[in-house]
Symmetry: C2
Subunit: 209 residues, 2 copies
C-alpha cells in the first residue's frame, strides 16, 4: 500500500465533537494500515504541555492579557511543528491535530480582535509556509454547542457573542480556503458526522476509507 503523507487538522467551537471524530478517524486509518499520530494544541511536547498548564491555570485567574495568551499558543505551536509534526510527516506518518492555526484566527482574531495580518505574520514566524493538507471544520450553532459542551463555566464566561464571532470566523476560513478546508455540519447524528469526516478524507486525500 502506498503511504499517504498528510497533515489533517480538526477545528470547531466548544461541543463540536472534535475529539470523538478524531478518535473515529484514527481507528479507521489504523485499520487500513496507516501510521497515525495525534497531536493536540496547546501541548503535545514537553515544553508545550508546560505552556498548556500556564494557559489553563490562567483561565482561572483571568489576569492574562490577550496578547500573552496568543503568544503562548504560538510558542506551543512552534515547538509542536518542529519537534513532532514535521519529523512525523517526513517519516511517512499521517498527523492529525486537534486545533491548529485556524483556532488562533477564530479565537484570538475573530473572537479577541487581533488583526488578521498580525496573525499571519506570527504564523509565518512559527511555521513559514507550512499549512495543513486538509482541515475539517466541525460547524455547530452556538446554542447547540453550549448544550453539548462539558466546559460550561468557561463557555459562559467568554459570552455568547464571542462564540458567535468565533463560529463565523471558522465559516469565513472555510469559505476563503476551500482547497484546504471542508466545513462539516456537526448538528447531525454522530454516525452521520463520522461518515462525512471519512468521506472528506477519502475525497481530498485519496485514502481508501
Amino acid at each position: 500500500m502506498a503511504k499517504t503523507v498528510k497533515f489533517i487538522t480538526f477545528e470547531g467551537g466548544e461541543g463540536s465533537g472534535k475529539s470523538t471524530h478524531i478518535e473515529h478517524l484514527v481507528t479507521r486509518l489504523r485499520q487500513e494500515g496507516y501510521h497515525v499520530l495525534i497531536a493536540r494544541e496547546p501541548g503535545g511536547t514537553e515544553v508545550g504541555e508546560q505552556i498548556r498548564h500556564i494557559l489553563q491555570y490562567s483561565k482561572q485567574s483571568a489576569a492574562m492579557v490577550p496578547e500573552t495568551e496568543l503568544l503562548l499558543f504560538c510558542a506551543s505551536r512552534a515547538q509542536l511543528v518542529r519537534e513532532v509534526i514535521q519529523p512525523a510527516l517526513d517519516d511517512g506518518t499521517i498527523v492529525i491535530c486537534d486545533r491548529f492555526l485556524d483556532s488562533t484566527e477564530a479565537y484570538q482574531g475573530h473572537g479577541g480582535g487581533v488583526p488578521r495580518d498580525r496573525l499571519r505574520d506570527l504564523h509565518r514566524l512559527i511555521a513559514g509556509d507550512f499549512l495543513p493538507d486538509l482541515t475539517l471544520i466541525l460547524d455547530l450553532p452556538v446554542e447547540l454547542g453550549l448544550q453539548r459542551a462539558q466546559a460550561h463555566t468557561r463557555f459562559e464566561r467568554m459570552g455568547r457573542d464571542f462564540h458567535e464571532r468565533m463560529r463565523s470566523g471558522f465559516l469565513d476560513i472555510g469559505q476563503r480556503e476551500q482547497r484546504r478546508c471542508v466545513v462539516i455540519d456537526a448538528r447531525e447524528e454522530l454516525a452521520a458526522v463520522s461518515l462525512a469526516v471519512k468521506a472528506a478524507v477519502r475525497e481530498r486525500l485519496g485514502a481508501p476509507l
Copy 2:
C-alpha cells in the same frame, strides 16, 4: 519636587554588571525621593514567572526550538508591559527594567538569526509604539564578560561566536537609536561605571542625581 515619569532599561551581555548598576541607580533615585519599580525579563508577573521557569528549565533540556524561546520571551513581555510597566508609569513611578526589547534583537536576532523585521512585527504586537525613554547598554568585551559571569556553563554552551554577534548587536542598536540609547563602557571600575550610569540618567532625563 516635580515627578519624572520615565521608563529606563538596562541591556548588555553576560557579566556586564546590569543587576549591580540597577541596584546602585535605584538606591540613588530613592534617596532623591522618586518612586521606583524594578522589573525583570523574563518574569515580573505571575504569568511571566511561570514562563521564566519554562525558559530556565528548558535551558537544561535544550529541546526548545529558537522560535518557541522567542515567543515565550515575548509572551512574558506582553504581560509585563500591560500588567506592571504601563500602570506604574501612569502612576508617576519610574520603572527600571533588566533587559527589554533590545535583548530580543541581540539574542534572538543577531545571535539566533531571526530577521529584524519579524522582531519588529512582534514588538508591535506586544506593545504597539511603546519604547523605553532611556536604554543603558553596558558594553564589555566577550572575554571579560566570560571571566565575570557566574553562569559559565550556559555562556560556554552558546559559544563565543554567539556572544560576539550579540555584543555587536547591542552596539548596532546603540548606534542606530542614539536618542534612546547610551552605550556605557563596562570595562571600567564599578564606581566609574556607576557614575556614568547616573550621568546618563541625569543628562537624558533631567533627574538631579
